[in-house]
């Protein structure tokens, strides 16, 4: 019981996760800045931003629905953190596990987007409404390839449980290399989920100011931003487990280091991708996801099905 509470609140739960999220945000911003020939922020910038926002006034628009407006950021943060407890990190075991938790984790990662929509919609600002509708529209585009990419790996392991996936790939080393295409697809879809360039359409500042976040300020904005950071870690952890499931049966310290390296690798890829491309338009984004990502994901599924039929019966 105490051990579980420690897991949830201290390590690798809440406290660790949030600190790691800040570090990840710093690394993301620093890489982005260095690639753009800028100096970039100092290491404590994300923490400083968070503290600053906490000390600012919370403004709730008069025309908004205050309950929904206030609850959405907390709801988003809570669901992103909850998803983390189902993902095996550096050993082939997680705090909670049951058959079907892959779906639950993906579902919990979808909830923040819905919460952003609700928060943006109920803040009733024009920019917020357009931005929040955009984030929903985008959801329908990237969610399918993301699910297909991740489930193709689960298909090969013949299980819907993340723990079983970890066990399978640990006992079949190098099989994860079959899923590299799936990883590429899931990574690009993750950019959509994290609302980063080229898929930062919902918060495109030159069009809709800050999209669904326009009316948020103070503490609630701090939580929204933290949600995005936590989502980045949880999304990367999920991708790391599903697509790079190695080093899970080593000594915990070495396993932990490998886990950190995997996450940082994925985060650097995200920073690199958002440096080299421009923002797409909504119609182009939907076209791109359905025309290219989904067929590629189908190809990966087909390949995995064949492999499974041939070798892993």
């Amino acid at each position: 019981m105490l051990g579980e509470l420690f897991y949830i609140f201290i390590f690798p739960g809440f406290v660790f996760l949030i600190n790691f999220a800040w570090i990840a945000e710093f690394i993301d911003r620093k890489i982005y800045a260095r690639l753009q020939n800028r100096v970039g922020p100092p290491w404590f910038q994300p923490v400083a931003d968070f503290i600053k926002l906490l000390s600012k006034e919370d403004i709730v628009p008069a025309a908004s629905n205050p309950k929904m407006f206030k609850i959405a950021p907390l709801f988003a943060l809570a669901s992103a953190i909850t998803a983390f407890f189902y993902i095996p990190l550096w050993k082939a075991d997680a705090l909670f596990s049951f058959n079907g938790d892959v779906i639950v984790v993906l579902y919990l990662l979808t909830l923040p987007t819905l919460a952003f929509f609700i928060g943006g919609w109920y803040s009733t600002s024009l920019y917020s409404r357009i931005g929040s509708v955009r984030s929903l529209m985008q959801l329908f585009a990237y969610e399918v390839p993301l699910f297909m990419g991740i489930l193709s790996s689960a298909l090969l392991a013949d299980t819907w449980s993340l723990r079983e996936i970890a066990v399978f790939y640990t006992s079949h080393p190098y099989v994860w290399m079959f899923n590299l295409l799936g990883f590429a697809i899931a990574l690009v879809s993750l950019l959509g989920k994290l609302e980063k360039v080229p898929f930062d359409i919902p918060e495109a500042e030159t069009e809709v100011v800050a999209g669904g976040f326009t009316e948020y300020s103070g503490r609630m904005l701090a939580f929204l931003r933290m949600t995005l950071d936590v989502e980045m870690i949880v999304g990367s952890a999920l991708l790391a487990l599903v697509f790079f499931p190695f080093g899970l049966n080593l000594h915990p310290v070495i396993g932990f280091l490998i886990f950190i390296i995997k996450i940082l690798f994925i985060i650097s890829l995200i920073s690199l991708l958002r440096t080299v491309v421009a923002r797409l338009r909504m119609d182009q984004m939907i076209n791109f996801c359905w025309k290219y990502l989904v067929p590629l994901a189908l190809l990966q599924l087909l390949f995995n099905l064949t492999m499974k039929g041939m070798f892993f019966r």
Partner: protein, 412 residues
């Protein structure tokens, strides 16, 4: 333009996409733009009127501040008109120096535009890169003229500073760096698929529309209209220099990007020639304080398009009338046309593609009755009384303060 039942979203007067205050009211259906209402007038500074109350020498500095980016364009354009009225024969060396500064200014303006365009389509890396390279030309301008913007180079009858051989060497070195960087941008613009996707087919303005709406500058040239004052009506040293007028047949924002980037290459060519053929001689002749009566219209190809100044002199040391037509005013009508049936996401880049400079364009405040098209002209005392009334309705009473001020003679 559109009825009040549409979903209208305000872009401006304060909005992250706009660098200057400017009102766009966009009627939307989903993401699609049904219509746009443009409202100028948030940044009126009354420069034309102020110019009438100052001497010609003071006016140079005032006119230079019409625009921050194309300051040399406006001051040269104004001075050309004054020199024409006074009948001054400007030394050739001064004309060449004006040309060099004008082209350096074009380089810095186009690089700035490239960065802004990158930012508008969410490609901040391009912004950071092109603005870094813009520093090279800014440093050169600072070392020649002493200022990064508002160079203060022009004076009636010539220029105020000479370009020494060492400085011209400095310019040539900078040009080599810039040329190499520009080649890289051409490569980026022609190969990076997200840029091409976001820019091509957006903001279409056909050749006929350019002629009908009288667009100028790169906006017109990107639709295949060969319209460039430097070639059509050469001023300064352009008549003696070799250069191509860049045009493009794409008619969209991508074409405008290509035109601007290629124009950078032409600018390097022009500056190199001008430095090579820089004639000897004085850089200015003495101009009279009082300009004889007369009028003149002067044209200048600013980085954004054709700039027109009209000056009427009455024999005193102050002009009788100065009229400025900044290039943005000619292009702003085209924006409305270009936005028709496009998506909201295209709005920032389509506006940015004419390289707008709203504060140069602003010239009068027209008060309109809400929901009616008729305008109304209010005299100053009536406007004053109206504002007092308006604040009283908001619960703030300025009447007492106003009495105090008018007792001291501080209000109209």
């Amino acid at each position: 333009m559109h009825n009040s039942k549409d979903f209208k979203i305000p872009i401006g007067p304060q909005h992250p996409a706009l660098k200057e205050p400017e009102g766009f009211s966009v009627a939307l259906k989903g993401e699609k733009i049904l219509g746009v209402d443009i409202r100028l007038g948030y940044n009126h500074r009354g420069i034309e009127k102020a110019a009438e109350e100052r001497t010609y020498i003071q006016d140079i500095y005032l006119i230079e501040r019409v625009c921050g980016i194309c300051s040399h364009s406006h001051s040269t354009c104004f001075i050309q008109a004054v020199e024409e009225i006074a009948g001054l024969a400007v030394p050739r060396r001064a004309l060449y120096i004006r040309t060099i500064i004008g082209e350096l200014e074009r380089i810095h303006s186009h690089l700035l535009w490239l960065g802004v365009a990158g930012h508008e389509i969410g490609f901040d890396t391009l912004l950071m890169y092109s603005w870094r390279d813009r520093e090279v030309v800014m440093d050169i301008l600072a070392s020649i003229t002493g200022n990064r913007v508002n160079y203060g180079m022009n004076t009636i009858g010539g220029v105020r500073r000479d370009i020494s051989p060492e400085q011209s060497q400095e310019i040539l070195i900078a040009l080599d760096i810039l040329e190499e960087r520009t080649k890289y941008y051409i490569e980026v613009a022609t190969q990076e698929s997200t840029i091409i996707k976001r820019l091509s087919g957006v903001g279409i303005l056909s050749r006929e529309d350019v002629l009908r709406l009288d667009a100028v500058g790169p906006t017109a040239r990107a639709s295949g209209v060969k319209r460039d004052v430097r070639a059509d009506d050469p001023y300064a040293a352009y008549g003696e220099l070799e250069f191509k007028v860049i045009t493009d047949e794409r008619c969209d924002v991508y074409g405008r990007t290509v035109v601007r980037v290629k124009e950078l290459m032409e600018s390097y060519k022009i500056i190199r020639q001008a430095l090579k053929n820089l004639p000897d001689g004085p850089i200015a002749i003495k101009a009279p304080r009082k300009i004889p009566a007369g009028e003149a219209l002067s044209r200048y190809e600013a980085p954004r398009g054709e700039d027109v100044h009209y000056v009427r002199a009455n024999g005193t040391e102050k002009p009788d009338r100065v009229k400025v037509r900044a290039p943005t005013l000619a292009n702003i009508q085209a924006v409305k046309h270009m936005l028709r049936d496009r998506y909201l996401a295209d709005m920032p880049i389509v506006i940015a593609a004419i390289d707008p400079c709203f504060s140069c364009t602003d010239r009068l405040i027209a008060l309109k009755e809400q929901e009616s098209a008729t305008g109304k002209i209010i005299s100053w005392p009536a406007l004053h009384a109206y504002s007092l009334e308006w604040y009283k309705k908001q619960g703030i009473d300025f009447t007492a303060l106003n009495k105090k001020l008018s007792a001291k003679g501080l209000t109209g």
